[in-house]
């Protein structure tokens, strides 16, 4: 059941260049799965008007974590929220990552704040699945951002474009050459990265991507978030945000 919960800020730290880690304390909502997202209200008044979609970065009982980058007015307002301030959060929304089987080998590839849903995924399946995690940033991020991913992955590689953390370069330069050895490949990040990644995998049905599109509502009533699939229109908030590599087309 989707709920509109009121979260109290208990942490809203700058953890990188314009990147923030937010933790909200609220009531415990049942059945929240990795890959799902929330719509965060950024203010009580009517400017800005819409809520902002954010992946769930981590969930710990009644605590919900979000990792976000300040890109515009809404995220700027979010970054100003202080402890004890309240934020309304509609969740859980969207589908989720596929169920992972015991002992599967899963390649996880994340770019920037796109690691948010991946973090939840790895945290969720940490005891059962073998994760090989590759994440890249444009510049420095502090350890809280990737601590879980590092701890719960068999292999963990981090890179940054300016070399300020991990290897220097884009993360796709560091992922394994042979992608056939993985049972599943799960990724989230800039669309350019996703596009290149999917290209490199032969069996597109082993790839799962979390996509973004501008959203009005987040629960299927406005039809803003449409993307074109092969033969039909898909809505990121309803049929997604997680799509199988076979569903997505990358022209334009």
């Amino acid at each position: 059941m989707v709920k509109d919960i009121t979260g109290k800020v208990i942490l809203n730290n700058n953890v990188g260049n314009n990147i923030f880690l937010l933790c909200l304390e609220a009531e415990e909502v049942e059945e929240v799965y990795p890959g799902q997202f929330a719509m965060l209200s950024v203010g009580d008044e009517y400017d800005p008007f819409l809520r902002r979609p954010m992946s769930i970065f981590k969930r710990d009982k009644n605590r919900y974590y979000f990792l976000y980058q300040v890109v515009g007015r809404g995220t700027h307002l979010l970054s100003k929220k202080r402890n004890k301030e309240e934020i309304k959060v509609l969740l859980p929304l969207g589908n989720s990552f596929p169920n992972l089987n015991k002992k599967e080998n899963v390649l996880v590839v994340g770019g920037g704040v796109g690691i948010a849903p991946l973090n939840f995924l790895v945290d969720y399946y940490k005891d059962q699945v073998n994760f090989y995690t590759f994440i890249g940033f444009s510049s420095f991020v502090s350890e809280e951002v990737y601590l879980d991913l590092k701890k719960y992955s068999r292999e963990f590689v981090i890179s940054s474009e300016d070399g300020s953390i991990g290897y220097k370069g884009k993360i796709l330069d560091f992922i394994p050459k042979d992608l056939n050895t993985f049972d599943k490949i799960i990724s989230c990040g800039p669309s350019q990265m996703l596009k290149l990644l999917v290209k490199r995998v032969e069996d597109k049905d082993r790839v799962y991507l979390s996509l973004e599109e501008r959203m009005g509502c987040g629960f299927g009533i406005c039809l803003s978030c449409a993307i074109k699939s092969k033969d039909k229109v898909l809505h990121v908030c309803k049929e997604g945000p997680v799509f199988c590599g076979t569903e997505v087309i990358w022209d334009e």
């Binding site: 501008r214 009533i221 039809l223 803003s224 229109v233």
Partner: protein, 306 residues
């Protein structure tokens, strides 16, 4: 009779709170949040004869206290609508108004014919589509066209017909007269305003079609002005729509002359807004009837001025 009840034309609404076309899906999605039978009614997403994919992204853009949208009437088309949505709609115990759109006159009529036998309260004509036969001008800005389409739909459907006006029409009152002459039961003021946003980083229009539909709190004073003007003409009941986000907005519309209101963009921010407004209406109208207060601001104004 309950205080919230509103009668317009041949329909009875248990309260004046409706949800607007294109902002509540086909009812099902909102019904997950609350029982939509508690509403006065709602209007389905506009359907067209054939399925439409809609416009390429971006389809929505935020402005100050308002949004611009360019959905492009994405919908499954009449056939699938009848198969997949109608059974749910027919089981509801509130007013379901089906919104119809088309690029050719004949499309409106064919849809109307197909809806004749359905258990729905009526239809709302969305005339804010470009008329492909008529050179791409909107149907809704041409009073002859409005009259012609409305008349024929009224005949074909045998149910109440509402016409949703576009604020782009140059003379709103003329259009309302046309609807009245053609047998429409109410006018809905308004569909979205034409607006533009420029992506200053890319230095080009945000939307592929340049202009987009502007809605949200920002448009409220503009729509209220026309509700007032149309009410003064005493032609047809008015359904007010534009920028409602709170109960005081609802009151402004009713006092200015709207018999019913439709909630649009606000559903995106708060899926429960319809239910909440109904609750507030119950409280506010404990001792007075909505029907007695429609347009009350006109009377009060005249009393003060005289």
């Amino acid at each position: 009779m309950n205080n919230l009840e509103v009668r317009i034309g041949s329909l009875i609404f248990k309260n004046p709170i409706l949800l607007a076309s294109g902002t509540c899906g086909n009812g099902r999605e909102i019904n997950k949040f609350y029982d939509i039978n508690g509403l006065g009614g709602f209007v389905t997403k506009s359907i067209t004869l054939n399925p439409r994919e809609g416009n390429p992204p971006p389809r929505i853009w935020e402005s100050y206290a308002g949004i611009l949208n360019s959905i492009g009437l994405e919908n499954v088309g009449l056939q699938k609508f009848l198969e997949e949505e109608m059974p749910f709609l027919e089981r509801l115990s509130t007013n379901v108004i089906v919104s119809i759109a088309g690029e050719k006159k004949e499309e409106y009529y064919e849809i109307a014919r197909n809806l004749r036998g359905c258990k729905i309260s009526g239809v709302e004509l969305n005339l804010s589509c470009p008329n492909v036969e008529g050179g791409g001008m909107l149907f809704g800005i041409d009073k002859e066209m409005v009259k012609e389409i409305t008349k024929k739909v009224v005949k074909e459907i045998g149910k109440p017909v509402w016409v949703k006006l576009t604020p782009q029409a140059k003379d709103i009152v003329e259009i309302v007269k046309a609807v009245k002459d053609a047998g429409g039961e109410a006018v809905v003021l308004f569909n979205t305003f034409l607006g533009l946003a420029i992506d200053w980083k890319k230095r080009k229009p945000v939307f592929k079609r340049i202009f987009a539909g502007y809605s949200g709190p920002a448009v409220k004073p503009l729509v209220l002005r026309y509700v007032w003007e149309v009410y003064e003409e005493n032609l047809l009941p008015i359904v007010g729509c534009g920028g409602i986000v709170s109960f005081s907005d609802v009151l402004e519309y009713i006092f200015a002359g709207a018999s019913l209101v439709q909630i649009g963009s606000a559903n995106f921010r708060d899926p429960w807004i319809g239910e909440r407004l109904v609750k507030e209406a119950f409280k506010y109208f404990e001792k007075e009837r909505v029907m007695d207060l429609i347009g009350i601001a006109h009377k009060n104004y005249k009393e003060v001025e005289e």
